[in-house]
Amino acid sequence: MALIEVKEICRTYDLGDVKVNALCGVSLEIQKGEFVSIMGPSGSGKSTFMNILGCLDKPTSGNYFLEGTDVSKLSRDELAGIRNKKIGFVFQGFNLLPRTTAIENVELPLLYNGLNAKQRRELAIEALKKVGLQERIDHYPNQLSGGQQQRVAIARALVNNASLILADEPTGNLDSKTSFEIMELFVRLNTEKNITIVVVTHENDIAAFSKRMIKFLDGSVVNDMKVIKNG
């Protein structure tokens, strides 16, 4: 069974006078343990596709099966539950809570699934260790560099043992050296922990870290290929 299976999904935005098809007739499968990069110019529908994969949005038509369940029919709160347990998000702007320490940011998803304070803390420390930030658990986001903030965000995505990490331009705000460090972290999580990772990016050298590349244009998939590693 594929981790992700989308069948003929469309997403139409109703802007009153006109209807805009942001996504039309997309069908694909992503298996567990894949590392996929999604590319395409702005307006190509890749962000809409990510929102749907992340259960933040629902397709107007078509079906989306996540681990075999059709999530396109679920309610708002059920989707929140799925996001909490199965999906980890990494954003371009990090999206950490300000004035909240690294460990508290990482604990945040656990707050919404009823774990007690001790369990939360243990899991959060474990997640921060995985991203190499165990030394800075009590730092506030504004005391951390961009790369470190993104690591905290990745730890937050990992803390609930999510099977899927969705990263929307995770290196967009970082310099190239830090970008590569973050991508190497993704590669390590993918190979060592077998976590499925989907990354949206503009840049070819970032996409080069993935194993599979999907290109979007005008709301459809135009290219879906394996990444050939040279060297």
């Binding site: 929102n51 992340g54 933040l56 949005d57 708002r76 709160d77 929140a80 539950g81 996001r83 909490n84 347990k85 998000f89 954003f91 999206n95 950490l96 809570l97 004035r99 909240t100 945040l108 998803p109 707050l111 919404y112 699934n113 009823g114 304070a117 937050r156 609930n160």
Partner: protein, 409 residues
């Protein structure tokens, strides 16, 4: 599923970030709760004072005053034409079934002398049952008896104020004082009673037998004349009936024709007092209502600030939603913040209310009663205000679209 302790922690932190704003928002509630408590204290104090005074003059009282004279078409005030007698009083007691006791009163002001001290006070000539009508016990000695009245004995009962002024700490019983130069033997002291409803010192008085007052002190223009008659009805329910019976009896006794006006008037003292008490209670409700308006205004302040807070923290809400916060997780977070504002404000307001009531009591001399219920009501009401005015912003926050919220700058 919501984790209360961490939600509380989040809420406190959010409020701490904008300390000044939170404090000002709370100030609205502090003033509201403080005002409710202080106003209720003033109102309750006023009605309690009146209630105390009612019980101090005695319960179920009716007072009968003589009528007015008409001189050359000019009607004089009530009491100008003496028409009542001790015999009227006896007849009322005997014949009116709704009357428990009736006592005549012939009073006046006289100079009282003991040794080298003197004092001017109100002298009340009456019968022994006056003490039970006024619910007025004797603190030492004995009351005068019907026999004292019959033989017009020169005995008297002193009020506490008279004792204080003429005897100080000495026991007055058995001593002789001169009232209008007439020697009277002191046989008892009346228990202290305090102020009357219109502020008179009720203890500044001397009771003597009515017959003695008539014959030795004030004189009468016709036999048995008294100034007023005090009546105690059998029960509050029978006050009206007693009034009617007395009126009928006195019209008959005074031979008043069907078309003539009464030459006396009957007043239901207790009813007058109860009306006063009722108006005091209405005033206290009114004060409380006005004060609770400020509490509602404070609540609107909370709502206002919470709406600002929701807008400011749109992105935070988006993040929380993305990582799995459900509708009620978001709602509770904001409702709890609003409740903290209102409850902390309520607690501070309670203290403010207590302090300002004390200051008010000291500054104005009003009697102030702080009931635990008023504190509970004000505090509980502030909590309800928090939930009520916190709900809409919380509801608004929970309806945000996570994608839009995450993009919010």
């Amino acid at each position: 599923m919501v984790n209360i302790s961490s939600t509380l922690k989040i809420a406190f932190r959010a409020l701490k970030v904008n300390k000044m704003r939170s404090a000002l928002t709370m100030l609205g509630i502090i003033i509201g709760v403080g005002a409710v408590i202080a106003m209720l204290a003033v109102g309750t104090g006023a009605s309690k004072k009146i209630a105390d005074q009612i019980s101090s003059i005695g319960s179920n009282l009716i007072i009968i005053l003589p009528g007015s004279t008409t001189a050359g078409g000019v009607r004089m005030g009530s009491g100008t034409q003496p028409t009542l007698t001790t015999f009227d009083s006896e007849a009322i007691q005997k014949e009116c079934s709704a009357v428990l006791e009736a006592a005549p009163v012939l009073n006046g002001v006289a100079q009282v002398v003991y040794g080298n001290l003197n004092w001017s006070t109100g002298i009340i000539g009456t019968t022994p049952n006056m003490l039970s009508i006024r619910d007025w016990p004797i603190s030492s000695g004995r009351a005068f008896t019907p026999q004292d009245v019959k033989s017009a004995n020169k005995v008297c009962l002193l009020g506490q104020t008279v004792v204080d002024n003429l005897f100080g700490d000495n026991n007055p019983i058995g001593h002789i004082i001169r009232i209008k130069k007439v020697p009277f033997t002191i046989i008892g002291v009346l228990a202290p009673k305090g102020q009357s409803p219109n502020g008179q010192d009720q203890d500044d008085t001397i009771y003597v037998p009515v017959t003695t007052a008539q014959k030795k002190l004030f004189g009468t223009s016709f036999p048995g004349m008294v100034r007023i008659i005090m009546v105690k009805a059998k029960s509050t329910q029978e006050l009206g009936l007693a009034e009617k019976q007395i009126t009928e009896l006195l019209r008959q006794r005074h031979r008043i024709g069907a078309k003539q006006d009464n030459d006396f008037s009957v007043r239901n003292l207790t009813q007058i007092m109860q009306t006063q008490e009722q108006s005091a209670r209405i005033m206290s409700i009114l004060l409380g209502a006005i004060a609770s308006i400020s509490l509602i205004v404070g609540g609107i302040g909370i709502m206002n600030i919470m709406l600002v807070s929701v807008t400011e923290r749109t992105r935070e809400i988006g993040i929380r939603m993305a990582i799995g916060a459900k509708t009620w997780d978001i709602r509770l977070q904001f409702i709890i913040e609003a409740m903290i504002l209102s409850l902390v404000g309520g607690a501070a307001g309670t203290i403010m209310g207590l302090i300002s009531s004390e200051i008010l009591a000291k500054a104005t001399g009003w009697s102030i009663v702080i009931s635990p219920i008023s504190i509970l009501v004000a505090f509980g009401f502030s909590g309800i205000v928090g939930i009520f005015f916190g709900f809409y912003p919380a509801y608004k926050a929970s309806l945000l679209d996570p994608i839009e919220a995450l993009r919010y700058e």
